[in-house]
């Protein structure tokens, strides 16, 4: 049974990865490719948040801050100090992960609404910092001329190349997360979500595990931030505010807490919808609010649970066919 389940996960992932990697072949020169680059970045962010929110059940309303920190640290190191972009990304990821590790201990002692408020406060502090520390970050007008990433002669400066760059990272993170989900640590995280006290009684070091997953989540978000900075070559505080943190939470909720593919779905929907429905932009906040309420009330497993239900209904319906 074990082999079949593990193999099934791997096969599904391979199908998904192939689909993702083949898509650009049909979309060369299409604006959609640019949108899909952002879907890739948002998927990475949504998965990072899902590890914390979906698996461990800890709410964070300030995750845009880690995204922003990653972007700004990479931006500052590469524009001001001429640090190699890959090295800068590594430094950025480690320092943001380290920061999250340190503040993780006090912050994750809090639960529920208190944790929500604390992460919200942290997110806003970072946003204010991005906006006001003009000497370092360029303030509200942002920071520009961030160099593209390059590997030897290959410079990532077009939509097509960025697509493969971003999705390469995102698929890798997806695979690791899928592996983690069905493992000892994955179960330990989900046990924290369902009953912290029972998890502790079973020997799970709840406090430490929460901090670990918090810092990994921050680290991944920072990497997404670095990739974002080098892809856009420009960053400004507006992308890293409270609204985006809420958008990330909504992506995870829509897709389904704890579902990695669900995070992709949520990210895809919330990234592409504003592109296709300009009207969406005016209504976006209302829609996020409604989605959060309605999904949590009526479809707590997110769209993925709906899809799974549909799939099993269809397959059992098909099986009943021969009469």
């Amino acid at each position: 049974m074990t082999m079949t389940k593990g193999k099934k996960n791997l096969t599904t992932f391979l199908f998904f990865a192939i689909a993702v990697l083949m898509t650009p072949l049909f979309l060369a020169g299409n604006y959609l490719l640019n949108v899909l680059v952002f879907v890739g970045i948002n998927t990475m962010l949504a998965i990072a948040l899902n590890l914390l929110l979906g698996f461990a059940g800890q709410i964070s309303l300030g995750h845009a801050a880690f995204f922003g920190l990653g972007a700004y640290i990479s931006g500052i190191l590469t524009t001001r100090y001429a640090v190699d972009p890959w090295f800068a990304m590594m430094l950025s990821a480690i320092s943001v992960g380290g920061l999250a590790f340190i503040i993780g201990f006090p912050i994750l002692k809090l639960k529920g609404h208190y944790l929500a408020m604390a992460t919200l406060g942290f997110g806003i502090i970072m946003y204010i910092f991005f906006n006001e520390t003009v000497a370092l970050t360029g303030g509200p007008s942002g920071m520009s001329e961030i160099p593209n990433l390059l590997v030897g002669p290959l410079i990532f400066d077009s939509d097509m190349k960025n697509y493969f760059l971003i999705w390469g990272f995102t698929l890798f993170i997806m695979l690791l997360s899928i592996n983690l989900s069905d493992s000892r640590i994955g179960r330990a995280l989900r046990s924290i979500h369902d009953s912290e006290v029972a998890a502790r009684v079973m020997g799970v070091n709840v406090r430490f595990l929460k901090v670990q997953i918090f810092s990994i989540s921050a680290l991944i978000s920072a990497i997404a931030g670095s990739l974002y900075a080098h892809t856009m070559t420009f960053v400004s505080p507006a992308s890293f505010g409270f609204n985006f943190s809420i958008e990330l939470v909504t992506m995870v909720i829509i897709g389904g807490l704890g579902s990695i593919y669900g995070s992709f779905l949520g990210a895809a929907i919330l990234t592409m919808l504003p592109e296709f429905l300009r009207v969406f932009q005016d209504f976006d906040i209302v829609i996020y609010g409604l989605l959060l309420i309605l999904m949590t009330m009526f479809m707590p497993g997110g769209l993925m649970s709906g899809i799974r239900w549909l799939a099993s209904a269809v397959s059992s319906g098909l099986r009943k066919e021969p009469d």
Binding site: G57, I59, L61, P106, I107, K109, L110, K111, G112, H113, Y114, A116, M117, A118, L120, G121, F122, I124, I125, I128, F129, E132, H193, F242, I246, V249, I253, D282, F283, D284, I285, V286, I287, Y288, G289, L290, L291, L292, I293, T296, M297, P300
Partner: protein, 294 residues
């Protein structure tokens, strides 16, 4: 001399902001004590107070006082609706779901406000003009006096209510022990509804009296709500003098920090204080209740 005059100025503006934070914090405490949850949407009621008043004032051409009263009534109606539809059905939800739904609710209110009134900032005229007064070497606007006066009245009224009226005592009973309260015949659900009513009324009132000093727009709710929450935390979620001190303390620290350290980081100061308190002493400095879940 100049320096001490500046300090007094900072202290004074800090006190007036602090009074607002205390009012908002009261809203958090009242609901927390009655239901055990933090009403994430509290800040939005503050926003609604100011925005609705401006709406009634400009579009319906009402004079200030009726506009304000109608705004408070409307905001309270939203609060009651929120309790009915978002809170009451959630008795059985997991804690995480409860958090997410209340966050969703607050965002919904903010989103609808944005749809109706756009993203512009609006100004509410001061209650009694803008001629500055001079007190102990510092400049005071009449609006500051209104803030102190109204906050004082609100606090005295709340003390009287909770300590001397039957309904107020019933609410306190609920906060100490829901089960026991319902066993002696107190309608706990009504108390919960009442707590939301009082909180949204107080919150919207706070929004109205601060609006003439700081512009108001659809998203002031987040900052004010968070700062009010900070005041509530410092005050240990009490509905008494602890809350007042919590608010005033926050206001003064924020103002002094902004004046002496840096003005642009003013908001960050309040939130850093919030994080420090949550990390070090989440039960607040003026903790009143002592509950233990067995």
């Amino acid at each position: 001399m100049e320096y001490s005059r500046q300090l007094i100025q900072y202290a004074l503006s800090g006190l007036s902001n602090g009074a607002i934070y205390a009012l908002i914090g009261f809203g958090f405490s009242i609901i927390y004590n009655a239901t055990g949850i933090i009403n994430f949407a509290q800040g939005e009621f503050v926003m609604l107070g100011g925005m609705l008043t401006i709406f009634f004032l400009t579009f319906m051409n009402m004079p200030l006082i009726p506009a304000a009263i109608l705004a408070i009534a409307a905001a309270t109606a939203v609060g009651i609706t929120f309790e009915r539809f978002a809170i009451r059905p959630l008795r059985k939800a997991t804690p995480l779901n409860l958090v997410i739904i209340t966050i969703g609710g607050s965002i919904l209110i903010r989103g609808v406000a944005m749809l109706i009134w756009g993203k512009d900032t609006h100004a509410l005229p001061s209650f009694s003009g803008n001629d500055p007064l001079y007190l102990a070497g510092a400049t005071l606007l009449p609006q500051h006096l209104w803030i102190f006066a109204i906050t004082l009245v609100a606090i005295i009224a709340s003390r009287l209510f909770f300590n001397y009226s039957i309904v107020g005592k019933a609410m306190r009973a609920c906060s100490y022990n829901r089960r026991a309260a319902s066993l002696v015949g107190i309608d706990v659900r009504k108390m919960v509804l009442l707590s939301f009513t009082i909180s949204s009324a107080m919150g919207s009132m706070a929004g109205i009296i601060i609006a003439p000093l700081t512009m108001t727009s659809y998203d002031v709710g987040i900052m004010l709500g968070l700062k009010g929450f900070c005041a509530a935390i410092i005050g240990g979620m009490s509905t008494g003098i602890g809350m007042v001190i919590g608010g005033l303390l926050l206001g003064i620290l924020e103002s002094l920090g902004a004046g002496l350290v840096s003005a642009s980081y003013k908001d960050a100061i309040a939130f850093i204080i919030l994080l420090v308190i949550l990390f070090v002493r989440p039960q607040g400095i003026f903790n009143t209740s002592e509950t233990e879940r067995v």
